[in-house]
Symmetry: C3
Subunit: 282 residues, 3 copies
């Protein structure tokens, strides 16, 4: 896509969500549900969190998009997650996956292996998680390396090949979050800047980002959905950090900014101004 | 009740909670527990969230009121919820029900059908949920219509008959939340105004409203408890929206306002000033 | 320890966490996870919440410290909690326990009895909980008294002997939270002042305090870890209450203050200035 095409698509996505108030139900961790839901509402979407297999399946059949975040896995996830993903896949319903906690347990590994058959439309994670998932699915060579808890131990750039491999495999988009954010559909590759170090001092930024990607999946392609959400997060974070220097007041202002961002602002800021080439050819 | 009687009862309820710091334990969804608990604390109450059947039963035997919100149902709800409601009913302990998610699954339908025998003292929901519950219990004719996720698709006025039917059946009160709020015990019928559209942009407003209704059930009749909580929410929302125009700062200020509201303010504002007749004869 | 030694140890603990960003995984209640995690991040630590037995066991084997808060017990806690505590004990990994809800159910009683064999490194609770645990473990005489829900019904001073008995038994530290906070390792006994009544109007202050004690366990002795966390909480609360008089804005500012506190401030304020003797000889 050209820069002009991207700008136009981002603006359309922001406006469409503002207009339609689309619902993207979630199976997501108990720690950050409040933040995920409030972020989804702030951008103009609607939220509903669920756990039971039959409820998730029913919602997966009717919702325009879905979000699965593997955070605080509970015993019933073994049934709920694969069944939901299967229904989403069969119904060609777009869904965003956050494979947080990959490698922590056999249950997670088993679920994530099954997801390979159900093609998550967007995969969002930090560099460590994206690399680990590409390895688990046999898309890149496994040469060791580890995930520590829920935090990244790798740089975004180190996950470039893993992200591209995952995107080519799923036919969707992959977003690697970090100091800069890499978004790709396997062909287009964009490195986004902005945001704030303070977002690492509040819990759930990544979860919330995945949640609004799911909202944008209701109105845009996977690549544009991932890029719209990433750009909004970076913009809202940059603005909040200009006003506040501590994490809790930063978070309040960050959510307020998400609510107030316009289509035009998002379209104009999906990359660092003046560094288009670098960003585009990452 | 006359307007004067209502004003007096509201003021007494607000003061009594400030004085007694009453506990109303909850079984409530994982998304908005923080908001529910903080709202309960803000008005002067005390909060405790529980999941296990035997703990809920034990608390149901000793607590002065209870709150059940069906939000993020988990597998063990099949046992916990009906058993708790039964004990509440047997002990004549007042309890507030939020039937959020009604219709999402057989488990919810089954639990809600059982609740018909256990007479929730207050039922709070949006118009869609109140209509759905009245249909499920066979109190009004089922002529179709649907609930979408956790959001209302019906106007408050459309749920008037359903609310009255439910209140007459339970002998308690019903509150229908929306742009305006309808509170009834089957005889008295009040339409409350105020609040802010911004409360639809933060997750859990309805859950928190139900939670503080349970707090007021410890000191007031079901009708007055529902009306006190509704009035406080509308007042706190109106004030917050006058100060803040984005959702996260609105929420912080909203909770601060709940904490600061006085008995006199609540008593004087349970309806729109100057529109008493309309509000009272809705 | 002398006052000088304590001041020095507190400053070192604050700095070490700022430098190392240590992870202390948690099994903690669903109500206040967001607050716990954000408090842990604010002081410079890292957070990960878990539920599944095998994940908790795996993390217990590699994490430098752990936090178990019994809040909203779920059915699978029967397996997860004792197994995790056993692994922590076998690996000599320090861990902080918040026995909130003690006495609510047989499951809790059973789990807490098992914990007697696994020596929690720090036990933090309100006076009622500390007394109840010391009784449950047979360390003090059981002469009746009760815990109401999750709130304290006893004064901090009444739990002095129970706290000392628990600390001597575990060889770790015990912190009794209340209007003032008592921290002891069985030998040293410090009564800390500061904080704000407003912290009782927000849910999860105690949970968050336990969570950051676990963070400091990665860099300090149990006594110093408990004292560092307590001092930071009191300082952050005192400062927030000087700026804000309502609970939600207080909470935002409280977290901001946690983030901004320096080692020097903490070292200089672990007790009430001028009342050293009283505080030290409590």
């Amino acid at each position: 896509m050209t820069e002009t095409e991207i700008c136009s698509a981002l603006a359309q996505a922001v406006d469409a969500v503002h207009k339609k108030n689309p619902l993207a139900p979630s199976i997501t961790n108990t720690v950050t549900q409040d933040f995920v839901a409030n972020a989804q509402l702030a951008v103009g979407g609607s939220a509903a969190m669920l756990y039971l297999a039959d409820e998730c399946i029913q919602m997966a059949k009717v919702a325009p998009a879905f979000y699965i975040n593997m955070g605080t896995a509970m015993p019933f996830y073994a049934e709920t997650l694969p069944k939901t993903a299967q229904v989403l896949h069969e119904n060609k319903t777009p869904w965003a996956l956050d494979p947080v906690g990959i490698g922590l347990s056999n249950l997670r590994t088993d679920i994530l292996k099954q997801f390979k058959n159900f093609a998550p439309t967007i995969i969002r994670g930090n560099a460590s998680e994206i690399i680990a998932l590409a390895k688990l699915w046999g898309l890149i060579e496994d040469v060791g390396g580890q995930v520590r808890g829920v935090d990244a131990t790798e740089k975004v750039s180190s996950a470039k090949n893993a992200a591209i491999a995952l995107a080519k495999f799923t036919g969707g988009a992959v977003a690697v979050s970090g100091e800069e954010d890499f978004v790709t559909d396997g062909n287009d590759k964009i490195l986004c800047a902005g945001g704030s170090e303070l977002s690492t001092k509040i819990t759930g930024s990544g979860c919330a980002l995945g949640g609004i990607m799911a909202i944008y999946l209701t109105v845009a392609t996977p690549f544009i959905a991932a890029l719209t959400a990433t750009t909004m997060f970076n913009l809202a974070g940059t603005k909040a950090a200009a006003e506040f220097s501590a994490p809790a007041s930063f978070k309040v202002n960050f959510l307020d900014n998400l609510y107030e961002l316009t289509a035009q602002e998002v379209a104009e800021n999906f990359r660092v101004p003046g560094s288009f080439e670098k960003m585009f050819n990452f």
